[in-house]
Amino acid sequence: MESRGGKADVPNPRSAAGPQCVLFAETSNPSVTIGVVSAPSSLALLAAGVAGIAARRALRSERLKALQSQKTDP
């Protein structure tokens, strides 16, 4: 899995001319079963629409922070 190297900034995909980057968290859940998503997984939050947006943003923010701290910690 890839992560964006070392920077906190997330590119604005709307202005990217080339292929858009997909942010992958370093720690993914290897036991995801197809389509069987127990709430509140990120996919369930995505399916929830506006109700899931805040939670997804919070999740993303947490993961970005975790990525950054992993890079800075010895």
């Binding site: 899995m1 890839e2 997330v10 590119p11 995909p13 709307r14 202005s15 292929p19 858009q20 980057c21 997909v22 942010l23 992958f24 968290a25 993914s28 859940n29 290897p30 995801v32 197809i34 389509g35 069987v36 998503v37 997984s41 990120s42 996919l43 369930a44 995505l46 399916a47 929830a48 629409g49 506006v50 109700a51 947006i53 997804r56 999740l59 993303r60 993961r63």
Partner: protein, 673 residues
Amino acid sequence: MIPSPGKKVLLIGWDAADWEMIDPLLQSGKMPALAKLIRGGVRGNLATLQPVLSPMLWTSIATGKYADKHGICGFTEPLPDGAGIGTVRSTSRKCKAIWNILSQNGLKSNIVGWFATNPAEPINGVMVTDQFLVSPEAKLANTVHPPELTSALAALRVTPDTLFAEDLEAFIPRLSELNLKTDERPLRLARRLAKVASVQAVATALIQSQPWDLMAVYYDGLDQFGHEFMPYHPPQMKDITDRDFELYQHVMAGCYRFHDMMLHALLQYIDEQTTVILVSDHGYECGHRRPPPEQAKRNPEACHRTFGIACLKGPAIKENERLYGATILDVTPTILALLGLPVGGDMDGRPWLEVFRHQVKPDRIFGWEGLGDDQAGLHSSEMRQDPAEAAQAVSQLVELGYIAPPAEDVQQTIRDTIRGNKISLARALLETPRMAQAVPLLRELLAEKPDDEWCALALARCQLTLGQLKEARALLDTATPETQRSPQVQILLADLALAEGNKTQALSHVEAASAGGGTHHLVWAQIGRAFLQFERWHDAAAAFRKSLEAEPDNPAALDGLATVHLAQGEWERAVEKSLEAVGLVHFYPEAHFHLAVGLEQSGLVREAIAAYETALGLGYWPVAIHRHLAELCQTLDPQKAGEHQLAFTRLCRQPMYRADFKSSLATGPTPSP
């Protein structure tokens, strides 16, 4: 306005949704939201129209009309300024959509992502156009009405970079094994998932914050995912490597399950007074009839199936029942009936009154066009224009030297686009009772490009149907020997020879077609019909069975088999096959007639009367039907019998015309232009 049976309607469009994909998932409990909808409501097949092009179909769904009446004839059209081509626009639509009709009746609509809705019409309610979902931030002007909602809704759009690995792993569990630098498929999946999620975010925001009487939401995910990933769906296709199959085989099931999750979320926002209607515009091949991947890429339409899905649930709708004979043209009339509004007489569809709990007789008016236009939320008349005419106007300005011409390749692109849309219009007209209107259009297309064999054959078929035999013969004689040898053209030559009175030649053409039948179900159905004319019952039945093997949801072949059974005195089998045929397509007059004959011969008098009356209502062979009804009604309703006898007598005094309704499903497959 009559009291509305239902208070509000939630219309959900799942492009390309197909029961063949859905049913196994329902059976294994993997689409619980849809299962609940079906259990408490009604489900059925939904017949599509030709050509199977989504902008045309979703506009037919929204207007209740064929494309010749609504004017949307393709994915793209010339830009009004002549600078090139762009996606098809709402200004090109020639008639009102359901949201316009509701607007002028003081009802609110929230519309999300519907095809051909850009620029946004100033309706009573909210319009979020198809282009809103794909336009960059700087180009969102006119994509939302009212415009003050644009920024807030734009903030809800989901972008691929905000997706997590586990979002994609639900579709591609072995995602971590992929090299994303060399395999772009996960990225394409991410883009499509993000778009669908954007629709969901906007829809869920509007459904709870903006009042509505009609909420209509369009999701293109199943179709978009299908064009990319259906080749990997089980069973493994010949051209798919083992590795690709292992990696991507779960994508389509995952996509359907995600749609079910979104359905569940959306349904949390409605009350028991809301009627939910879930439809697709066409089905999608997902089994052994899938075209090879390379063929599918060249001709995406080849992946589409004739029947999509329909599912309804609401306070006015029966529970746990089936809907039969529905087409995409029926959705708008049904919504109007649910909301207590008159159905337009100029609409080509019918309301599904048979699935209403209580008898409803909607008012009918001649049409909604030209009535209350100032309240309908339409674009101004200056904005609305035929794109081909606009392109012509620009051309004239170029010729006069007022504006510089676009580059030659742009001009060619514009010409190709106009031509492509005219061909789509011709294909659409061939499906309607207005087939004769296709003739001047096809002549024009053929004059522009005399070597266009599809146009030549389509024109020959029209001319044959209209009795212009010499013209049809002249055209068919110009086809290349290879084309003439094709089964489809052999059938056309057979029909022509029969019309010319040359039975021997006609039969030789039919036999040649049968020998080179190929695999297309429509061609086999045509061959079957041709054998019927020679009373070659065994050969006809064999051809119809081959047609059914290729496509089980096949009204033409089912009706053909019914005809064979009638000829052989097998009444019950005839009734069984006819019922299956009309169960798939309601507007199939011959099938209703054959059903009636079978029922009559089986001694089921009341049922036979109902079937004859349906066929009569669809315009089929009035003289024969009145005669049958006059006899059948003798004991049950002598007054009615007398009326039918009178009608029969009057018709006998006039020149006899057989109703010229040919099911378009009995015509051959149309090659891509």
